[in-house]
């Protein structure tokens, strides 16, 4: 959004009789928004260039009349206020920038007539698809025809028929009839995704949105076009016909796929998540997010989801499993494999667990190729959280790219042709492997990390007793003596620290799957079972402990964290070799080494 301006850059404009000071260059739509006036628009998007082709944001503008002789404003004798020279024709709001003394009318009869006319033309060829349209409920056309339309149709001719159900790419379906040619999607692909694949062909009522010949809309940001489409022309193939949006509950969340920590909204109904969309945060992800992060919710109901506590392969109860785990730990020789995907709170408890057991802590690094936009090279969303809480003092060793198997997301078979940035390098936990081989480590507690992927071979795992806390089944959970099913990021609340050292919180969107237990509760009980102090597992209470013990997080509480996150002081870790390259709102510090590309 617009950066905070110096007072000198502010100009005063008058919108519907109200004066407001806005930064120079702000367009009328944004300025009107500041005074709470809604100027309807379709093609304008605050993060995209202004083209002004929908004509919906027409307003009346005028400037104070100036006496050419004296160069002083002419006052209206009736009111004693400056006389305004209103322009005889309406102007588009998106393309009109604030200038000193600018006067705007958004509710005059002329403006209303204009809007009604524009709406009528937009609706002429728009099909009456609302009952089947996925956009219904969040459709700007619906909203604005209700707010500014004439309410009935004078059009008796046949409507245009255009292709429906065109597959623009693997994840986006186009219904051309519904398109109002606002060109937001074209501008997005060109300007943000830098993958210029979309364009209009033909003229007049034959105008059609399509892909350039030989190209498809298949970049990792294609679904953002669906988000910004003001009507139901671009729809998500995955979400298509699944659920009407008015049933869906919105929960603020964080995309955990990389250290960018894009802000998201999780849309769910009755415990089932239907889709994930980006949430505007101008410091992190603007209004975008990667397609790859939108499918992560499928892990919640994935077939490989762990739903039963297992002790030596048999179903068990929590207390029994905790006692069994404590028994495995009582002889010493314990190693803890923490996770860069755990929340700050979990990492804090992991640290306490390791301290209680006097066990060394290892972290699995997870590095891929950054796309310079919203997927960074570090695929652990919370490696900085581990630093902040003191779980680790230095970054885990980074392995060679591509040396390990791709990250699996909840056992999903992702659609073919999906260019997920799956190039990964997980460092071999060489030190741990050596310790196991030497026999000094007899028990490994893994917090959701698949040790086999982290280059601990199955043969090595047979030498140790593994205690596994995680959400999905994998080779490690199969080999584990004690398996404690825990929650996915959608079933719990917590905080993550992204690459900017911005601590962001996410909330529980759906209730926990049957058989899975809250990570914090399991960890707190495990700490108690192995002889540690009794720690709260409730988020609010735990944050009191965290704030007391972690200097960086002092004075914070979970409830107080703003929705857009809070920047922490990164100076204690300034010298560490973070792997991320540049992303949308992040520039690596000079000291950081480049990503291993």
């Amino acid at each position: 959004m617009i950066q905070p301006a110096k007072p000198a850059d502010l100009v005063t404009v008058n919108i519907d009789g109200k004066d407001i000071a806005v930064p120079k260059g702000t367009n009328v739509i944004e300025a009107a928004r500041l005074v709470g006036v809604d100027v309807p628009h379709y093609c304008y998007h605050p993060k995209l260039t202004v083209v002004g082709n929908c004509r919906m944001c027409l307003i009346e503008m005028g400037l104070p009349a100036v006496d050419p002789a004296t160069k002083t404003p002419i006052l209206d004798p009736a009111t004693g206020k400056p006389k305004i020279n209103w322009m005889p024709r309406p102007q588009i709001g998106c393309g009109t920038n604030a200038s000193p003394g600018l006067h705007i009318r958004t509710t005059s009869p002329l403006v209303k007539d204009c809007r009604e006319g524009v709406m009528e033309f937009l609706l002429i060829n728009h099909p009456l698809d609302c009952p089947i349209c996925d956009q219904a409920g969040e459709c700007k056309l619906q909203e604005q025809s209700t707010g500014y339309g004439r309410g009935y149709s004078r059009f008796i001719e046949q409507k245009n028929v255009k292709p429906k159900r065109t597959q623009l790419g693997p994840r986006v379906t186009l219904d051309d009839e519904r398109c109002i040619l606002c060109s937001r999607c074209i501008r997005f692909t060109k300007e943000i995704a830098k993958d210029d694949v979309l364009g209009f062909i033909d003229r007049g009522s034959h105008s059609t949105l399509t892909c350039h010949p030989g190209k498809r809309l298949e970049n990792n940001y294609s679904l953002n076009t669906v988000d910004i489409c003001p009507v139901g022309a671009l729809t998500s193939t995955d979400f298509r016909f699944k659920m009407r949006v008015w049933f869906l509950k919105q929960t603020n969340s964080i995309d955990p796929e990389s250290s960018v920590g894009a802000n998201t909204v999780v849309w769910s109904r009755e415990g089932t998540i239907y889709r994930i969309t980006p949430r505007r945060n101008d410091e992190v992800n603007d209004t975008w997010m990667a397609d790859s992060g939108r499918e992560l919710f499928k892990a919640v109901r994935a077939p490989d989801r762990l739903t039963a506590i297992k002790v030596h392969g048999a179903d068990s109860a929590l207390e029994i499993a905790l006692n069994a785990a404590a028994k495995l730990c009582q002889d010493g020789g314990v190693a803890v494999v923490g996770s860069g995907r755990s929340t700050v709170e979990e990492q804090f408890l992991t640290k306490r667990l390791a301290a209680t057991l006097q066990a060394p802590v290892y972290l699995v690094s997870r590095v891929g190729k950054g796309d310079g936009l919203l997927v960074s090279a570090d695929r652990n969303p919370n490696i900085r959280g581990a630093l902040v809480t003191g779980l680790i003092a230095s970054l885990p060793e980074v392995g060679k790219e591509g040396a390990a198997a791709p990250i699996r997301i909840g056992g999903l078979t992702l659609p073919s042709g999906c260019p997920f940035p799956v190039g990964n390098g997980t460092a071999p936990l060489a030190e741990l492997a050596a310790a196991i081989a030497a026999g000094t480590v007899k028990t490994v507690i893994s917090l959701g990390e698949d040790l086999v992927i982290a280059n601990l071979t199955a043969a090595l795992l047979t030498k140790v007793s593994v205690i596994y806390l995680g959400t999905q089944a994998n080779a490690t959970s199969a080999a584990a003596k004690v398996v404690l099913p825990t929650l996915t990021v959608f079933e719990k609340s917590g905080t993550l620290v992204n690459q900017q050292f911005r601590i962001q919180k996410f909330a529980k969107a759906v209730p926990a799957a049957g058989g899975a237990f809250d990570d914090l509760m399991v960890l707190a009980k495990l700490i108690a079972a192995v002889g540690g102090p009794a720690l709260p597992s409730d988020l609010t209470a735990l944050w009191k402990t965290i704030a007391a013990e972690v200097p960086t997080l002092a004075t914070m509480t979970y409830a107080n964290l703003p929705d857009t996150g809070l920047l922490l002081d990164p100076t204690p870790w300034a010298g560490l070799p973070f792997v991320e390259g540049e992303t949308l709102h992040f520039k690596p510090a000079a000291a950081a080494v480049a990503s291993p590309t």
Partner: protein
């Protein structure tokens, strides 16, 4: 306020014995004794259902046999007791009605919850759900009282209706306005 005191007419001796009134009562009951019954003998005789009767909600086909519901879920949204549950789904592209694109995969109305308010019929943009004249729903279990899609169409049948919005649209696809 003028209060008018109306003195009650004193009862005559005959009235105070109540006997004339009792005889009058007996006369009345005897008259009813011989009068024809007012009762309708239900399973054999059925009441005439007045137009506009709000019976069991049903789903209907249009005269061409197309299921009219496109699972817009407005009825599910508007239903006050939340009796309706719809699982939407896409129509198979090789289906003759593929041009409608969407139809309910499952459509369940829990008749134990339904309050026959008719809001679903009111809200339906496709005129696919109708409260028709079926008034007697019984079942031996809760599950039986949930009308599924098949049952709803059985109850609803076909309604003569001159709206062929989707068919007109399909016809237009082949016409001069197609691009």
């Amino acid at each position: 306020m003028a209060v008018i005191q109306v003195s009650r007419k004193p009862l005559t001796f005959a009235e105070r014995t109540y006997l004339p009134q009792i005889v009058g009562g007996l006369k009345t009951t005897l008259k009813h004794f011989f009068a024809p019954n007012d009762t309708m003998e239900y399973p054999e005789q059925r009441p005439a259902i007045p137009p506009g009767y709000r019976g069991v909600p049903t789903l209907v086909y249009d005269p061409h046999g197309r299921e009219k519901c496109v699972s817009c879920q407005l009825c599910e949204f508007v239903c006050p007791p939340k009796a309706i549950r719809i699982t939407p789904g896409a129509i198979n592209p090789d289906d003759p009605t593929a041009h409608v694109e969407k139809r309910p995969q499952e459509f369940e109305i829990d008749m134990l919850r339904c309050i026959y308010c008719g809001l679903c019929q009111e809200v339906c943009p496709e005129e696919a759900i109708w409260l028709q004249n079926q008034y007697s729903t019984t079942g031996l279990s809760r599950a039986e009282m949930v009308n599924d899609k098949q049952k709803l169409y059985e109850l609803g049948g076909t309604l003569p209706d001159e709206h062929f919005k989707w068919d007109k649209k399909k016809a237009a696809e082949g016409g001069g306005h197609a691009h």
